[in-house]
């Protein structure tokens, strides 16, 4: 077997669906029927998961550290809100795509700023862009509603068939469907040659350039894609909650997002989804203990995760599931360490 065919064989093997993955999605769907009274928070988790998936694309696969990913979330949120409020595109799915495309355009434009410079400059530029948009949204309060936010958004039925109900049932299935579709797309992309080249760039940009990967063009492409995903997440936020306020751009949103991804682990797509579930549960738990000061505990979790070490933490967390799987299935563990963090 030639080397090239060998690489292709392993890439295809790696891209196959595991049983664990199928089980994951069945469990996600089952949640809808097991907890019928918790649609609102589950919708929240799904939105956050999609947002985290978007950050995973650039952080986990391309190694771009962004402190301002909320910028695209905010653009998507206001985009969907304005489209619905003024009745430009009344149908939610079309509006969702349109808002995502607006965020994508912004992502494309700002990607040229982001690919310049190293980590520190990137941090500053991404943070600056989010702050800039927040200042703009505050400045043009006649359009955005300023600190009050957009109010009085009324959503039309999805595809003209399913109306949003007050329990959030439609909203949840809608969000889950969007997440699943976009996840399939992301999964296809990261297992394609394009995705493999991104990983090469993350591991060593210089080497990637030397073997003929157009580094800048790939980074622009993935950054634009991630902006699209974040825009969709923002649009989902507006459509399922019927509000959009200035805090969609806030720094805390970007920082929380990093925590979500760090809890779940980067570079294997499920990290964002698992992280979103754990993060919301932690947040719920902390805010029942100390309603006003839950941020303290979130901060503590961040500090502890970093000090203990992200890799070590994930190894410990995966020890039990792996043990069960090897005992039951009697073969190689299906749940493995995220590739980027394997020692």
């Amino acid at each position: 077997m030639t080397a090239q065919a060998d690489v292709g064989y392993h890439a295809i093997q790696h891209g196959r669906w595991h049983r664990g993955e199928i089980a994951f999605w069945i469990v996600a769907l089952a949640c809808a029927f097991v907890f019928p009274s918790r649609y609102l928070i589950m919708t929240d988790i799904v939105r956050l998961a999609l947002f985290a998936l978007s950050l995973d694309l650039i952080l986990g696969y391309a190694g771009i550290v962004s402190l301002g990913h909320a910028a695209f979330f905010g653009v998507g949120a206001y985009g969907a809100g304005l489209l619905a409020l003024h009745g430009i595109i009344a149908e939610p799915v079309l509006a969702l795509v349109a808002a995502g495309l607006v965020a994508m355009a912004l992502g494309f434009l700002t990607s040229f700023l982001v690919i310049r410079g190293v980590d520190l400059t990137r941090l500053m530029v991404t943070l600056g862009i989010a702050l800039l948009l927040e200042a703009l949204a505050e400045r043009f309060s006649s359009i955005t509603g300023g600190t009050d936010g957009l109010q009085g958004i009324e959503m039309q039925p999805i595809l003209g068939l399913f109306a949003f109900d007050m329990f959030g049932r439609t909203g949840f299935f809608y969000a889950l469907a969007v997440l699943f579709l976009l996840f399939l797309l992301a999964r296809r992309i990261v297992h394609s040659p394009f995705g493999l080249s991104l990983r090469a760039i993350r591991n060593n940009p210089l080497r990637a350039a030397a073997i003929g990967i157009p580094v800048n063009r790939r980074l622009i492409a993935v950054y634009t894609l991630a902006a699209f995903y974040a825009g969709i997440a923002g649009a989902l936020f507006t459509q399922t909650t019927a509000i959009a306020s200035l805090d969609v751009f806030s720094f805390e949103r970007s920082a929380d997002l990093m925590l979500v991804l760090v809890i779940g682990g980067t570079g294997y797509l499920y990290g964002g989804l698992i992280g979103a579930v754990v993060f919301r549960m932690l947040q719920e738990m902390f805010s029942t203990i100390t309603p006003q000061y839950w941020q303290f505990w979130i901060g503590l979790v961040l500090v502890v995760i970093v000090l203990v070490g992200r890799q070590r933490l994930h190894r410990v967390a995966l020890w039990l599931p792996n043990l069960v799987i090897t005992q039951l299935a009697g073969r190689k563990a299906a749940v493995v360490l995220p590739e980027s963090e394997a020692p």
Binding site: L59, V65, L123, M124, L132, R139, Q295, F296, G299, L300
Partner: protein, 289 residues
């Protein structure tokens, strides 16, 4: 004409204050290459220590300032020895996560202990009001800030350039391995510098309660300003951040006075343009490694 000069004066005072607040960060971020987003938390700690001493214990304002410095420096050295030093060699992502976690903790903790409203420090009567100098209104408090910060800047420059410690620090930053080979205790030098930078931030925090406002969200609100000072100023010398702070201070005051509607928009846009134009900062050559 006089309003321009008064604005310029206010801008200089603001810029000087920013420099004292941020120059500790210039060392950790610029020289030691550690992304410490929690720098504002040390400033806030100093501000609150001073506020408690002056308002509740009845200390005179000028006795509260050195205590603010000492308290922040102590917190700095403890945290450096316990936590920060383990992270010097980690990735920027880890450093960002860690320091953001510290910021969240400090915001919630101060909110819990001191309440979420803005805190004012009682000033002695001699510092209140303003006087006219050739028709230009000069605030007494701002004049004091310029004097204190000017002296500190000159002192810092002297220490870095002329003393033995200064040359040790420069050596440790240029090449830690070679420096430790020459018998310089690099971790100690870093710890001391980190603590000193935190102390300066604490002093700046105490001074800034009157001008910037002191509340639990201080570290989040001004984080971007500190980062701007360091990234725009570069870190090859202390003059880069100093000039950047002055520019930022004058620009911000003038922006708020002449185009109040644009708010902080101008500052952020300028920062992005400068970073794109010169990723290593306006005055630096080796800032980003």
């Amino acid at each position: 004409m006089t309003s321009i000069l008064t604005n310029l004066f206010d801008g200089v005072a603001y810029g000087m204050l920013l420099f004292v607040l941020a120059c500790g960060l210039a060392v950790t971020l610029g020289l030691m290459n550690f992304v410490n987003l929690a720098h504002g938390a040390f400033a806030m700690a100093g501000g609150y220590v001073c506020a408690v001493l002056v308002n509740q214990a009845g200390w005179p304002f000028f006795a509260g300032l050195p205590l603010a410095f000492i308290a922040s420096a102590l917190i700095g050295v403890v945290l450096e020895r316990l936590l920060y030093r383990h992270l010097y060699a980690r990735s920027h992502l880890d450093q960002v996560l860690f320091s953001v976690g510290l910021v969240f903790m400090s915001v919630a903790a101060v909110d819990y202990i001191m309440g979420s409203s803005r805190v004012f420090i009682k000033l002695p009567a001699a510092l209140e009001g303003q006087f006219d100098l050739f028709g230009v209104g000069i605030g007494r408090y701002r004049l004091m800030i310029i004097v204190i910060c000017g002296l500190l800047t000159a002192g810092l420059q002297l220490v870095l350039a002329k003393t033995r410690f200064g040359s040790r620090l420069r050596a440790a930053v240029d090449d830690p391995r070679a420096a430790s080979g020459l018998g310089i205790n690099v971790p100690q030098v870093f710890a001391f510098t980190f603590a000193f930078g935190c102390g300066l931030a604490g002093l700046g925090g105490a001074l800034s309660a009157e001008i910037l406002g002191l509340d639990p969200y201080f570290p989040l609100k001004f984080m971007i300003y500190f980062l701007i000072v360091v990234t725009v100023g570069g870190s090859s010398s202390i003059t880069g951040p100093f000039l950047a702070s002055l520019l930022l201070g004058i620009g911000d005051v003038a922006g708020k006075y002449y185009v109040p509607k644009m708010g902080p928009f101008v500052i952020y846009a300028l920062m992005i343009v400068i970073l794109i134009w010169r990723p290593n900062g306006l005055f630096g050559r080796t800032a980003a490694r």
